[in-house]
């Protein structure tokens, strides 16, 4: 091996070392947890009804929140990708805010909104409760993920050349037809990837639930919340099991994004 080759490998190794550091740190976190919990305990707690209730609650609330997010995210993301809003930087800042504000603060803001006119009157009139109840979980998950969703959808549409739409238009297709038959199918992979990421983000949401919803055991405690509740009440095994499940969901969904994304890199 000659001198320059050694230099080359030293250069690559020294940079890659930092990747290895991060990887070891993450690996260390996960492996110590796995060792601490052990397979038998994991299986025992995973079979507990407490875990299942929490898991099912998480599943359906996040699914509804994700669908709602996509309903807002696709049109807004497409608009941001194709048209220029007035004071676009300010508008984009506003759109990005809910995902960047500390989630616990978002929770406080949500609480405030549902305690002030007109929402407080509307919910009273309808006789429903949003805060400190299950619908609040969905509202919080939706609020936190929707900005994320808009950004991701915008990025997926940005990769589709507007020329495709121009050609479709010249062939006599009007804008809605072009949107549904050309833009959406072309952005399909990006949109599915966005959907999975948004869902995974919704599953991870906890901070905003802290004050807005609160953890009513067996009712509003989605998994991240249940991890916290079980931890402070000393049920370490249950907390760790659900924490593991959350990690598995996160890794699994990112793997799915990788499989779907193909060439369109989302992260």
């Amino acid at each position: 091996m000659n001198y320059s080759k050694i230099k080359q490998s030293v250069w690559i190794t020294s940079f890659s070392a930092f990747v290895v550091i991060v990887l070891i740190a993450i690996g260390f976190l996960i492996i110590t947890n796995v060792l601490f919990l052990g397979l038998s305990d994991f299986l025992y707690y995973a079979g507990e009804s407490r875990t299942w209730v929490s898991f099912v609650t998480t599943l359906w609330t996040t699914t509804i929140a994700t669908v709602l997010s996509m309903f807002i995210g696709v049109p807004v993301g497409y608009t941001l990708s194709r048209y220029k809003l007035p004071c676009s930087k300010l508008m984009k800042t506003l759109i990005d805010l809910p995902v960047m504000v500390p989630p616990v603060a978002t929770g406080v803001f949500l609480l405030g909104v549902f305690k002030s006119v007109p929402l407080v009157n509307i919910t009273q009139f309808l006789g429903i409760r949003i805060d400190h109840a299950l619908p609040g979980v969905i509202v919080a998950q939706f609020t936190v993920t929707v900005s994320f969703c808009i950004r991701l959808v915008m990025a997926s549409f940005d990769t589709i050349s507007p020329r495709f739409e121009a050609v479709a238009r010249s062939l006599g297709a009007d804008l809605p037809y072009t949107f549904f038959k050309v833009s959406l199918p072309l952005a399909k992979n990006g949109l599915i990837a966005s959907l999975i990421i948004v869902w995974a983000r919704a599953v991870a949401e906890w901070g905003s639930l802290m004050l807005f919803v609160g953890g009513i055991q067996g009712r509003t405690d989605v998994m991240p919340f249940a991890v916290y509740l079980d931890f402070i009440s000393g049920k370490i095994g249950s907390a760790l099991t659900m924490s593991m499940l959350c990690i598995l969901i996160a890794i699994g969904s990112m793997y799915a994004v990788y499989r779907v994304g193909g060439k369109t890199r989302v992260w």
């Binding site: 121009a166 238009r169 010249s170 062939l171 006599g172 297709a173 009007d174």
Partner: protein
């Protein structure tokens, strides 16, 4: 017929001023200009994906300036053809007809007709990724032709195609044009690429349309220095001209008089087409020198592959001649040979000096 009336477009620093143009029905029209001259902008205005600031665009006695692209009944082929990658060739071709909710039988008959005349029958069920450049071009044309457009706009269609196939594809474009008789408007920056397909050519400068004519006329009689330089005319000499009985006499470089048939007096540029210069190996005595006959020495011979270029020093000027190799071999001249040169008065074209 397409008519552009006083079209103005401003895009940041780029300004396109007062474009007036008529394109006849069934014509193969080419917009030619260097990169960034605004030809694509003009095409985008015609297609309807860019709004002009003022002016009007008419197609067949219908003002379409403010119409959406889908209401214009035109075809649009951008660079690299942008075939929909999520559809098969057949779905690509029938896209426009389906969008217009034509009935199934009609769609099928159109596809059969196009597949046959554009030789696409084997490709119909394939996706567009693996197609060759020529196949992509035919599919894109079929897709545009399916809706029976009044005219088809092509934006640098041969740009991304390699040198060898380009000639075949431009020939194919012309033959499809002749077969269907649709008006073609083709944007290009490459003179060679379009010289055998265009009926008429419009030369664009940055934001202005300089000259509209047949390719032959543009090459022989460019209206100004810009057009002459863009069409890579070799012999452009500044001089001053005075009027004579049957034209002008131009004094170039204070030493040489050219006789010409064009009538333009004052400070001018004399343009001499290289192909029309005659030369002979026979040496002439000064007494034999007649109107536009000069004695010169060959200073450079360049082999350009399919033709030969000679540079001849007549007095002080360098003249450039081009000829086929066989003809060059016949003349038997070599470098450093002294030759006599004759420039027909027709071949000298005068334009105003800017």
């Amino acid at each position: 017929m397409i008519q552009i009336k006083n079209l103005n477009v401003t895009l940041g620093n780029f300004i396109m001023k007062n474009i007036n143009l008529k394109i006849n029905t069934g014509e193969y029209f080419v917009l030619l200009g260097p990169t960034g001259c605004g030809k694509t902008v003009l095409l985008e205005c015609l297609v309807g994906i860019r709004k002009p600031d003022s002016g009007e665009i008419w197609i067949d006695n219908e003002n379409i300036t403010h119409k959406y692209p889908e209401e214009r009944h035109i075809g649009y082929l951008p660079q690299d053809f942008t075939l929909f990658p999520n559809m098969t060739v057949q779905e690509n071709i029938e896209f426009g007809l389906k969008a217009q909710k034509k009935d199934k039988k009609y769609i099928q008959s159109v596809i059969n007709m196009l597949a046959e005349s554009l030789n696409l029958s084997q490709l119909l069920s394939r996706y567009t990724q693996g197609l060759s450049g020529g196949e992509k071009q035919r599919v894109a044309l079929a897709r545009a032709l399916a809706i029976e457009p009044k005219s088809i706009f092509l934006d640098e269609p041969l740009n991304a195609i390699d040198e060898n196939t380009r000639e075949r594809l431009s020939y194919e474009l012309r033959s499809i044009h002749d077969k269907f008789g649709t008006t073609f408007v083709h944007v290009s920056h490459n003179l060679e690429e379009i010289s055998d397909v265009a009926d008429r050519v419009g030369i664009m400068n940055f934001g202005t349309l300089e000259q509209v004519d047949t390719i032959q006329e543009i090459l022989r009689h460019p209206v100004n220095q810009y057009v002459a330089e863009f069409t890579r005319t070799k012999n452009i000499f500044p001089g001053s001209s005075i009027s004579t009985d049957d034209g002008c006499r131009v004094l170039v470089n204070n030493t040489i008089w050219f006789h010409t048939k064009s009538k333009l007096v004052g400070n001018v540029l004399a343009i001499i087409r290289p192909e029309e210069i005659h030369f002979n190996k026979r040496h002439l005595n000064p007494s034999e020198l007649d109107k536009n006959v000069f004695s010169g020495k060959i200073v450079k011979i360049t082999n350009k592959g399919n033709f030969i270029r000679l540079e001849i020093d007549i007095g002080i000027l360098l003249t450039v001649c081009t000829m086929a190799y066989i003809m060059y071999a016949d003349t038997g001249v070599q470098k450093e040979d002294t030759v006599s040169v004759y420039i027909p008065p027709d071949a000298v074209h005068l334009i105003k000096k800017i």
